[in-house]
C-alpha cells in the first residue's frame, strides 16, 4: 500500500533574506535529508543515545539558522528521551521523532521553494 501523499506546508527560514546566510542555509538544509534518515534509523533500531545527541545538536543549531520551530521540536524529542526515565515511552519518542522529521521536511520544501 502506498503511503498517503501528505501535503507539505513549506517552512521558510527567518533568515532567508539575510545575504550573510545564503550559503550557510544551503549547507544546513542540504544536510537535513541525511538527518531525517539518521533520525529514522536511530528510532527503528532504538539507539536512543544517538537519537538524543542528534536532537540536541539540532536544537542548538536550528534556531541560529532561522528555524526556531525546528529547535523547539528537536528540544521536545530530546526531553522525551532525557526526561523519560530509564525506559522512555516508545510511543512518545516516536511521536516526537515524527514531528521533528515533519518539520525538517517542511524546511527542505521551504528552502527549495524560495
Amino acid at each position: 500500500m502506498e503511503p498517503p501523499t501528505r501535503h507539505i506546508n513549506p517552512l521558510r527560514s527567518d533568515l532567508a533574506d539575510d545575504p550573510d546566510m545564503v550559503e550557510l542555509l544551503d549547507f544546513f538544509v542540504g544536510e537535513l535529508g541525511e538527518r531525517i534518515a539518521s533520525l529514522q534509523s536511530h528510532l527503528n533500531e532504538q539507539r536512543l543515545g544517538d537519537l538524543r545527541t542528534l536532537a540536541h545538536q539540532l536544537k542548538g543549531a536550528a534556531g541560529g539558522y532561522g528555524y526556531p520551530d525546528l529547535s523547539r521540536i528537536a528540544g521536545t524529542l530530546e526531553a522525551s528521551i532525557t526526561e523519560g526515565g530509564p525506559e522512555p515511552d516508545p510511543a512518545t519518542v516516536k511521536h516526537a521523532v515524527d514531528a521533528l522529521v515533519d518539520v525538517c521536511r517542511r524546511a527542505i520544501a521551504g528552502h527549495h521553494a524560495a
Binding site: 550573510d20 544536510e31 545527541t53 542548538g60 543549531a61 536550528a62 541560529g64
Partner: protein, 317 residues
Amino acid sequence: MRIEAANLEASRPLVLAVDDSIDVLRLLKARLRHETLDFETATSGTEGLEMAKRLNPALILLDIELPDIDGFEILRQLKERPETVQTPVIMLSGLSSAHDKVTAFDLGAVDYVTKPFDIAELRVRIRAAIRTHLLLQMLAQRAQIDGLTGLWNRAYFDRRLSEELARCARHERPVSLAIFDIDRFKLINDTYGHPAGDAVLTGFSSLLRREIRETDIPCRYGGEEFALIMPDTCPQDALAVCERIRTTLEQVAWPRHPDHAVTVSIGIAGSNRCGFHTEGAWLETADRNLYAAKSGGRNRTIWSIMDAAGRSLPKAG
C-alpha cells in the same frame, strides 16, 4: 600570577570555539565574520584543550555536551593550567538549568549563553568578555609597573626575586642580583631641578633595558635605586653586564646638563650554583657591596659570590 605584556593594540583577538556540532561552528564563523577577531574551532574536548594551550586565545566559547570530555571538566582543566587560567570562557550550551549555570560560574566561566542563541546577543557578550579581559590584564600589569620609568616596581621585584632564587636553587643554576644607585642624585635634582632628575631616572632605565637580556628582570627599587635580577647568570657575567652599564652611563651627554656626567654605583651578589640563602641574605649582600662601592669613591662595581656557607667575599669590579 605571571602577567605577559598585555598588547591592547592587538587588533584581532583570537576566539576559540569548542563544539561538536559543525552546524553551530559554521554558523558562529559566518556570524562573527564582521567582528574584529580571529576564529578557530575544535570539535572535541581533547582538541579544544590542546588548541587552547597552543594558541593562547583571548576567549573560549565552550559547549558542555561533547563526545569525549564533558565541558565542565574541560573548564576545570583550563582553570588548572597556568597558560589558560586567565582566559575567559563563555559556556555555550543547550543545557539551560540553573544548576548547570551555577556549576559553570563556580568553575570560573565568565558568561553562559544557551542554545539556540541570538547572534546579536552573543556578539555583544563576546565583545564584553574580551574588553573586560583586556582591562583586567592591563590593570594587573599596571599595578606592577613603575609609573615614571616603565620598569617593574618594588612589589613585582620582591615576588620575582623569591621565585627566581627558588627556581635557580631547585635546578642548581647560577643566578645574580645587582643593585644600582645613581651617584649624587640629590645634587642633580637640587642643581638642575626635578625634571632633570626625572630625565636621569628615565634615561638610566632605557639604558638598563637596552643593555640586559630578555630574561633579566629590571626593577625600580625606589627613589634613585634600581635592582636587576639576572637568572641563569654567574657573578662574573653579571659583573660584565653591570660594568658595561656603568661605563656607558658615564659617557652619556645629558641635554639639561651637558657638563655634568651622571655615574652609578653598583653592588652585586651572585652564585654559580644557587644555594640556600634567603632573599634577605641576597639583598643584604648586594646592598653591602653597593655601600662599599659608594664609600670607595662611587662610579664602581663591587661584587661577591654567595658561597654555600653563606659568606660573601667582596671584590672590586
